[in-house]
């Protein structure tokens, strides 16, 4: 009986942890895309970075994703006219660590969008 309960609990922890990681990955993907669009439509690179950080934080908060220490956002604009946003979110897994997960796991996503030449052409 003890073996059965332990095994089923470990399976439950595993399912919760795995789904938390994949769902957080999907949410971070969506946040990175939204951030890239915001960066691409800004008039300057500085405005784009500010807009991307705001949008990413808002997108993650709207989806209920809690990143340990807050999301890390990197924004860049290439000379080819691409705005690229990389979002890293550290997902807490301490409560399901008995299933073999580390206490935290970073989830990273990158998205690119072409800078709007009419609005963001000033580099």
């Amino acid at each position: 009986m003890a073996f059965s309960v332990t095994a089923l609990l470990l399976v439950a922890f595993f399912i919760i942890g795995a789904l938390r990681i994949t769902n957080s990955g999907n949410d971070v993907d969506a946040a990175a895309r939204a951030g890239a669009r915001a960066a691409a439509t800004a008039r300057t690179a500085a405005e784009g970075e500010t807009a991307a950080r705001t949008v990413v934080s808002s997108a993650l908060a709207d989806r209920g994703v809690a990143c340990a220490g807050g999301p890390q956002v990197a924004v860049s604009r290439s000379t080819a006219g691409l705005a690229t946003v990389t979002v890293t979110c550290t997902v807490g897994l301490g409560d399901v660590s008995p299933a073999g997960f580390n206490a935290t796991r970073p989830v990273t996503s990158t998205a690119s969008e072409r800078v709007d030449p009419l609005r963001g052409g000033q580099g």
Binding site: M1, F3, S4, A7, L8, V11, F14, I15, A18, L19, T22, N23, G25, N26, D29, A30, R33, A36, R37, A80, G81, L82, T84, T110, A111, S112, E113, R114, D116, P117
Partner: protein, 141 residues
Amino acid sequence: MDTTVESDEAPVRDRGDTMLMTTILVAFLMVAAFALVSASQAWGARRDVQATAQAAARAAVQVTDAEVRGGGVTIDPALAAQRASDVATASGYVVSVTVTGTTATATVTAPVTYAFPTPGFADSMTATASADVQRGVFAGG
């Protein structure tokens, strides 16, 4: 005198059955969990590819001054493909672009990597989006 002693433990003869049932149940739950995680990853990949197709279509119709002639717009298919490719390859995806008038249609194909490969899930995803020079993305949203 009644000497029967009640116990919470299963009779010895039933313990093997419980162990077997638990093993089968855990194996079934693990397979179900793998399928659930794969479905979640496939859904996320689908959304990602669709969003990349939209971004590529938007990029394809961001015409340069050279493509605006005599008050009209003529999308250069080669330039459109290059602009779309810049966006798609940044995500590691492959894109093909077709141009019809002032409309560009981008088709993006991307491989999907599963944490727990499960039979029945696609190895790649394809999505299509169309954008117009004046209206932006109007299909594939």
